[in-house]
C-alpha cells in the first residue's frame, strides 16, 4: 500500500541491506585490506599473533638456553639474529617474547575495557551522585600522567607480570569508562531508550539491549587504540627495568640489557627493538583502519 506495484524501490533497497548486514565481519576485513596502510598493519599484527601462539614450535632454542660455545655470535645461518653475551639465541628470545608482550598488553586491555565499559555504562546511565563521584575520581587519576602513575604503582606492587597487568587496567579503565560514558549520555536521550523506560524495562535490559549496541563501534575503536598504547607501555616499562625481571624474554628488557654491549653486539639490541617498532606501528595502522571503518560517516 505504500508503494505502487510497478516500482517497489523499497524492496530493492531492502534486499541490498540484508546482504550487507550478514557480512559485517568480512566487511571489516575487506575494509582493512582495501587500504595499503591498514592492510600492512593488520598483516603485521596477525604475523605477531601467530608467533605468540606458535612460539615454542618456531623457536629453535629455549628462551634461556645458554650455548656457551656460541656466545657473542653475530647473525649467521645457525643463529639468524645472533647470540647475546650469555650465549642465548636472540631469534628464539624475540620469537618467545612475542607471547609475553601480546599477552600482557592484550589481557590488560581486555580487562580495562571490560571494567571501563561496565563503569561507563552504569555511571552514564544512572547519573547523579554515583556518576559525579566516579568522574571526579577519574579526573583526579587522569591528572597524573600515565607513565608516572604506572611507575608509582609498580613501585608499590613490585616488578612482575601481574603488576604490569594491574597497572594497565588501573591506568586505562578511567579512559575507557569516560569514552563509554560520553556515548551513553548521548544515547540515553534518544526516543527508543526513553520508550523502553516507559515500558518498564529493567535497567540491565535497557543498558544491554538499547544502549550497548550503539556503544560498540566507539568501544571497538577505543579498544584498538588502548591496545596499541598498552604495547607501548609494556615495552617502555620493560626498558625502564621496572616490570618483569631478567631472564624473562621481554623485548623492552632485552633492549635495556643489551645497552651495555651495544658497541660490540649491536644485533642484541637491533632485533628486539625492531620487533617492538614493527609491532607498535603495525597495531597503530590497524587501529587507524578499524577507526576509519567503524566511525567514518556513511
Amino acid at each position: 500500500m505504500t508503494a505502487s506495484p510497478l516500482f517497489d524501490t523499497q524492496e530493492e533497497q531492502g534486499l541490498q541491506s540484508t546482504v550487507d548486514r550478514s557480512s559485517g565481519r568480512s566487511k571489516l576485513i575487506h575494509s582493512l585490506y582495501s587500504r595499503p596502510t591498514s592492510a600492512i598493519g593488520t598483516s603485521i599484527f596477525l604475523i605477531f599473533l601467530l608467533l605468540a601462539l606458535l612460539g615454542p614450535i618456531i623457536a629453535p632454542y629455549a628462551e634461556n638456553q645458554q650455548i656457551v660455545s656460541d656466545a657473542r655470535q653475530p647473525p649467521s645461518s645457525e643463529h639468524v639474529f645472533g647470540t647475546d653475551n650469555l650465549g642465548r639465541d636472540v631469534y628464539s628470545r624475540v620469537v618467545l617474547g612475542a607471547r609475553n608482550i601480546l599477552l600482557l598488553a592484550g589481557l590488560g586491555t581486555l580487562l580495562a575495557v571490560l571494567s571501563g565499559t561496565v563503569l561507563g555504562l552504569v555511571s552514564g546511565y544512572r547519573g547523579g551522585l554515583l556518576d559525579e563521584g566516579l568522574m571526579r575520581f577519574f579526573d583526579g587519576l587522569l591528572a597524573i600522567p600515565a607513565l608516572l602513575f604506572a611507575l608509582l604503582l609498580l613501585g608499590i606492587l613490585g616488578p612482575s607480570s601481574s603488576s604490569v597487568l594491574m597497572v594497565i587496567v588501573i591506568v586505562y579503565t578511567p579512559i575507557v569508562a569516560r569514552v563509554v560514558r560520553s556515548v551513553v549520555l548521548s544515547v540515553k536521550q534518544r526516543g527508543y531508550v526513553e520508550a523502553a523506560r516507559l515500558q518498564g524495562e529493567r535497567q540491565s535490559v535497557i543498558l544491554w539491549r538499547e544502549i550497548f549496541p550503539s556503544v560498540l563501534p566507539v568501544l571497538a575503536v577505543e579498544s584498538a587504540l588502548r591496545f596499541s598504547y598498552a604495547i607501548f607501555l609494556v615495552a617502555s616499562l620493560g626498558f625502564l627495568g621496572v616490570s618483569v625481571q631478567p631472564p624473562t624474554p621481554d623485548w623492552g628488557l632485552m633492549v635495556k640489557e643489551s645497552r651495555n654491549y651495544v658497541d660490540q653486539l649491536p644485533w642484541t639490541m637491533f632485533f628486539p627493538a625492531a620487533a617492538i617498532a614493527i609491532l607498535v606501528v603495525g597495531v597503530n595502522l590497524m587501529a587507524d583502519g578499524i577507526k576509519r571503518f567503524l566511525l567514518a560517516p556513511d
Binding site: T37, I144, L148, L151, G252, A273, L285
Partner: protein, 314 residues
C-alpha cells in the same frame, strides 16, 4: 570570564588535593618497612622502632597525610632515605633540568607540528596529507626509547656529532649543556610532533565542515582570507588544549628519554627513587610533576578562554 577563571582555579586546587591524597596513599603501600630500609638490614629492632616513632610512622594515616602536606607546602620536603640529603634542592634542580628540556621540545615541536597539521588538514586525503598522516601514524607509535636509541646510533656512534650520554654535570652553563640537550630534545620532538600534528589536522578538517565557512566563501572573500581569517581562528583554538594534553604526554615521554640519555631530570630521579624505595623522594617528585602538569593545564584553559569569545563573554 572571571567566573570561568575562578572555576578553573578551584578545580585545579581540588584536583591537586586529590592527587596528593592518591600519591600519599599509594606510597604508604610501598613494600618494606621504611625505617628498616633507612637503617639497613643489620640494625637492631629497637633502633628501627625508635626511628619509626621519630619519623611519625606510627601515627594514624590522616595525621601523617596532613603533616606531610603541611610540611610540603611550607617547603619542608623531608630527607631522602637513599641520599640522606635534603630533598627540596635536589628535586628543584632536577625540575629545572626537566623543564629546560620540555621547553626546548615545545618550542621546536609546537610550531612545526601545528604547521604540518594545518597543511595536512587543508589537503585532506591528498598526497601531502597522506604522507604527513602515515608518517605521523608510524612515528607517534614508536616508544621514545626506540627513537632515542636510533638517534644515538646515528648521531653519536655513526656520525660522532653529539654525545650519547647527556648526564650534564651540575653547574654547567647553557652553552656547555646545549650539545647534550640536542638528542633528548629531538627524541621528545618526534613523539610530540606526530601527536600534535594529528590532532591539529583533525581540528582543521572538522572546522572546514562548518557552515560559516560556506558563508565566508559565498561572500566572495579570497580563499586565503577564508582560510587564514575564518577557519584557522577557530581551528587553532583547540590546539591550545591539545598542547596542554600533550604536555602530559611529554612528561611520560621525558621519563623514558631521561633514562635513555642519563639526563639528570625528574624522570631519571623517579626511576632511581623507585629503585631504592625512597618514599619521600617518590612523593616529592610525583607531586611536583603533577603540579607542573596541572599548572600547564590551567594556563591552557585560561588561554583557551581568552581566545574563545564564547567563553570570554559568558
Amino acid at each position: 570570564m572571571r567566573r570561568y577563571l575562578l572555576r578553573r582555579s578551584g578545580f585545579l586546587l581540588i584536583t591537586l588535593l586529590f592527587t596528593s591524597l592518591v600519591i600519599f596513599i599509594v606510597t604508604q603501600y610501598l613494600p618494606g618497612d621504611v625505617a628498616r630500609v633507612i637503617l639497613g638490614r643489620e640494625a637492631g629492632e629497637a633502633a628501627v622502632q625508635d626511628l619509626r616513632a621519630e619519623l611519625g610512622l606510627d601515627d594514624p594515616l590522616p595525621v601523617q597525610y596532613f603533616r606531610w602536606l603541611g610540611n610540603f607546602l611550607q617547603g619542608d620536603w623531608g630527607i631522602s632515605y637513599s641520599t640522606k640529603s635534603e630533598i627540596q634542592p635536589l628535586v628543584l634542580s632536577r625540575l629545572r633540568n626537566s623543564l629546560m628540556l620540555a621547553m626546548i621540545t615545545l618550542v621546536i615541536s609546537v610550531p612545526l607540528a601545528v604547521t604540518l597539521g594545518v597543511i595536512a588538514g587543508l589537503n585532506e586525503n591528498k598526497p601531502v596529507d597522506n604522507t604527513i598522516s602515515i608518517t605521523s601514524l608510524s612515528v607517534v607509535g614508536l616508544p621514545e626509547f626506540i627513537t632515542g636509541l636510533v638517534l644515538i646510533q646515528i648521531f653519536a656512534f655513526r656520525l660522532n656529532l653529539l654525545p650519547a650520554n647527556s648526564s650534564i654535570p651540575p653547574g654547567s652553563s647553557f652553552a656547555e649543556a646545549l650539545p647534550m640537550l640536542v638528542l633528548p630534545a629531538l627524541t621528545a620532538t618526534f613523539v610530540l610532533l606526530a601527536y600534535i600534528a594529528r590532532l591539529t589536522r583533525a581540528g582543521v578538517i572538522e572546522e572546514l565542515k562548518q557552515t560559516y565557512v560556506r558563508t565566508a566563501e559565498l561572500k566572495g572573500l579570497p580563499h586565503h582570507t577564508v582560510i587564514l581569517k575564518h577557519v584557522l581562528r577557530n581551528a587553532l583554538l583547540p590546539t591550545i588544549t591539545v598542547v596542554a594534553i600533550s604536555f602530559g604526554w611529554l612528561i611520560s615521554g621525558l621519563i623514558v628519554i631521561e633514562n635513555v640519555f642519563n639526563y639528570p631530570g625528574l624522570g631519571r630521579l623517579l626511576v632511581f627513587a623507585i629503585d631504592r624505595r625512597d618514599l619521600p623522594l617518590i612523593q616529592a617528585v610525583t607531586l611536583v610533576t603533577v603540579l607542573a602538569f596541572a599548572l600547564a593545564n590551567l594556563v591552557a584553559d585560561l588561554l583557551y578562554a581568552y581566545f574563545n569569545p564564547r567563553i570570554r563573554y559568558e
